[in-house]
């Protein structure tokens, strides 16, 4: 089940231009824009909930988007909440449905062997390798914070105490390391 995002299938629907939506979203959103904007957010939430290694995560995302479009077409979104919250609710429900369905299936069948997209994997792997290299070039001051905080999974306070700095300083160093990394990637 793949969602086509070309203009013919999901054309901007007149319902989306009603006053309520316009009031909350200026300029008004059409379905293409909604899909483009929310696909990454929905994907992120779905992967975090069911695991990025679960091959069906993309199917769940598409189900969510189809559901969103259907509801928008039936004017079920009345602008009581923001479009983001509206989509969040649908996403959460779909994830719960998926988990329930999966636990039912598991009663009768073994879990299918996950097969992943090899191109995607290679791409991810290359990007991760590159980032790892850049991280290795950071000053020890930043590296030790990242090491203790993320790799050793210590709390902010524990890292702070170990390095004899304030917890606030820990966050500052992490944020600065991220900033440096961003610059290095752009170069």
């Amino acid at each position: 089940m793949r969602l086509q995002t070309n203009g013919t299938l999901v054309s901007p629907h007149p319902n989306l231009y009603n006053k309520d939506v316009v009031r909350k979203h200026d300029p008004p959103l059409n379905i293409d824009e909604i899909v483009a904007k929310f696909r990454p957010i929905i994907s992120f939430k779905v992967k975090k909930s069911i695991g990025a290694h679960t091959p069906e995560w993309e199917d769940v995302v598409n189900e969510v988007l189809i559901n969103v479009i259907e509801k928008l077409e039936k004017s079920e979104f009345r602008g009581d909440s923001s479009i983001g919250t509206f989509i969040y609710t649908i996403t959460s429900r779909r994830i719960i449905d998926y988990i329930r369905r999966k636990s039912n299936v598991l009663k009768y069948a073994p879990e299918p062997i996950p097969f992943s997209n090899p191109h995607q994997d290679v791409e991810d792997e290359e990007r991760a390798e590159h980032m790892a290299k850049l991280l290795g070039q950071l000053k020890p001051k930043y590296k030790e914070v990242l090491f203790l905080y993320y790799y050793k999974d210590l709390s902010r306070e524990e890292v702070a105490a170990h390095l004899n700095i304030t917890p606030r300083r820990v966050s500052e160093r992490v944020n600065y390391a991220q900033k440096l990394l961003r610059k290095m990637v752009i170069k």
């Binding site: 990454p40 090491f147 210590l154 991220q178």
Partner: protein, 232 residues
């Protein structure tokens, strides 16, 4: 990019250090805040690279803290430092809770009042007189010493002198009569054998009766109780 209150919770969310309730609030937020979502994605890729490639990136750091036990060490150290950070002043006061401090202060005040009000009286306790069973008509006889608790076993008993030609009879009691003697003076020494019978920590009482030359009772004292203090 605008600053957002949720920004500093990104790590807690990604590292699963959030309650379900807070997690939901956070998720609703990033469904509505593109800036935060962008930062979350960026931080997420940083964390996943660190988690998967950490052993390569941090090979120098890992030499320092290689084993899990050392990580435990860091944790304990962190806890210890947290405790250390409390100032000496704070440490002094955390010895007791505020409630306990109040109680201590009240107790101290009460003790002070007791000490100031009662302590001077302890120095000279009023003589305790026990009325004898038989009442005597005539003058009363005042006993002078000992009339209060003493530190030592008294060697002499003294009383008011009623004048010439009076014979005094002294009675010393423990539970029963311990010793009795007669004299014409206003004092009498305690014989050594009686003294030996008396012990510290015990209660004694004594009285004196005055007789005329003819042998008739002319005055009697009250019975005075005294104790020889036990610390001797």
């Amino acid at each position: 990019m605008k600053e957002c209150n949720y920004e500093n919770r990104i790590d807690d969310y990604l590292l699963n250090r959030m309650t379900e309730e807070k997690k939901e609030m956070f998720e609703i937020h990033f469904f509505n805040c593109p800036d935060c979502f962008e930062k979350i994605e960026e931080r997420n890729s940083l964390i996943s690279v660190i988690k998967s490639k950490g052993n390569k990136i941090f090979h120098d750091q890992r030499k320092e803290t290689e084993t899990e036990t050392e990580t435990e060490g860091i944790r304990t150290q962190a806890r210890a430092r947290k405790l250390e950070r409390k100032s000496v002043f704070e440490g002094l006061f955390s010895f007791l809770t505020p409630k306990q401090w109040t109680m201590a202060a009240i107790s101290a005040c009460a003790l002070l009042v007791v000490f100031i009000g009662v302590a001077p009286n302890l120095k000279s306790p009023t003589p305790q007189f026990v009325m004898d069973s038989h009442s005597v008509r005539g003058d009363s006889l005042a006993l002078l010493s000992p009339v209060k608790n003493t530190q030592t076993i008294p060697s002499e008993f003294r009383w008011d002198n009623l004048g010439e030609g009076v014979e005094y009879k002294i009675y010393l009691y423990k539970d029963n009569l311990l010793w009795s003697a007669s004299t014409t003076g206003a004092s009498i020494s305690l014989p050594k054998d009686v003294k030996d019978l008396m012990k510290a920590g015990e209660n004694y009482s004594w009285e004196v009766k005055a007789f005329s030359r003819e042998g008739s009772l002319i005055a009697a004292s009250n019975k005075v109780r005294f104790q020889i203090d036990s610390h001797l």
